[in-house]
Symmetry: C2
Subunit: 151 residues, 2 copies
DNA sequence: TATTGTTATACTCTATAACTATA
DNA sequence: TATAGTTATAGAGTATAACAATA
């Protein structure tokens, strides 16, 4: 499926917040994929860089918990980031089963550039909304995901 | 990956509306999958039933346009709905290349029951939000997807 | 020539199971 | 026994290409 010009969504779907959410998320995902394609990365690679940049070195296990990515998938993501020199694995001296995954200087620089791309893509994607609507969306989603320990 | 108790999302991700959107959509998708599992259906099957119930008989081509599902995927979805007797294909006399896909009486009954399941699942999923927040989310997403003809 | 529906196929994503090394 | 990381593998999901029937 290519793209997404909005065809007259029937009321039975337009009135379902869940359907709107799924559909919006899918459009955004396609946009982000395209925006990161020139860098041969996917959004999940950027997410790992962003977490490491803000939290510091972490085990793969901690990364899977924070990002909700399966550990077998995380192996591949870290492999790919390591191969292009953006992260490095070092054995944790305190627990030699685990790695400490950390950004390299190249990874820090890449994160800075990619952050610009990701932010610009997101801004462009949501630009059709008013400032107030964007703020509402951010507030509601954040409250939904963060003010809560349920399930 | 199993589930999703929210682990202290770093600010660098919590402040990105796009990331929050993607993550929320993924949680909802898992919930909907589980809710429809007892019926051996996926959300896309429900979406087809809902569109047919509200719009009436449509060609597969029109269904793909409305739901943004690839036409090769739509073949399988309609196959499965036809096999369990919820829809039927009839050649369109006005264009014999196309089918008219329509709900059977069994499909109409199933749609009614499934609508209850889907609505209850969605209500439960969003129940942690205030009424106002739910209304804001619905309003913003709908405006985003529907008040617009861009891309 | 273009379009609807179909099949075959390939590619990605993700999850499961089993392994290793450490704890 | 349990956990961190890994590998192999299998199952979905989705996309591409090619085809038949029809326009």
């Amino acid at each position: 499926m290519i793209e997404s010009r909005l065809v007259n969504l029937p009321e039975s779907l337009a009135s379902r917040t869940g359907y709107l959410l799924a559909r919006t998320a899918r459009q955004l995902s396609e946009r982000m994929d395209r925006a990161l394609e020139p860098f041969d990365l996917r959004p999940r690679h950027y997410a790992v860089l962003a977490v490491l940049a803000s939290v510091g070195s972490l085990s793969q296990q901690r990364l899977t918990e924070i990002l909700q990515i399966d550990r077998t998938t995380m192996v591949a993501v870290v492999d790919e980031l390591e191969k292009i020199g953006y992260v490095e694995r070092r054995r944790d001296p305190a627990d030699r089963r685990a790695y400490r995954v950390d950004l390299t200087p190249e990874g820090q620089a890449a994160h800075g550039e990619l952050r610009g791309v990701v932010d610009a893509t997101q801004a462009s994607f949501f630009s059709r909304l008013s400032k107030q609507d964007r703020a509402d969306l951010q507030r509601v989603l954040r409250r939904f995901l963060c003010d809560d320990e349920r399930e």
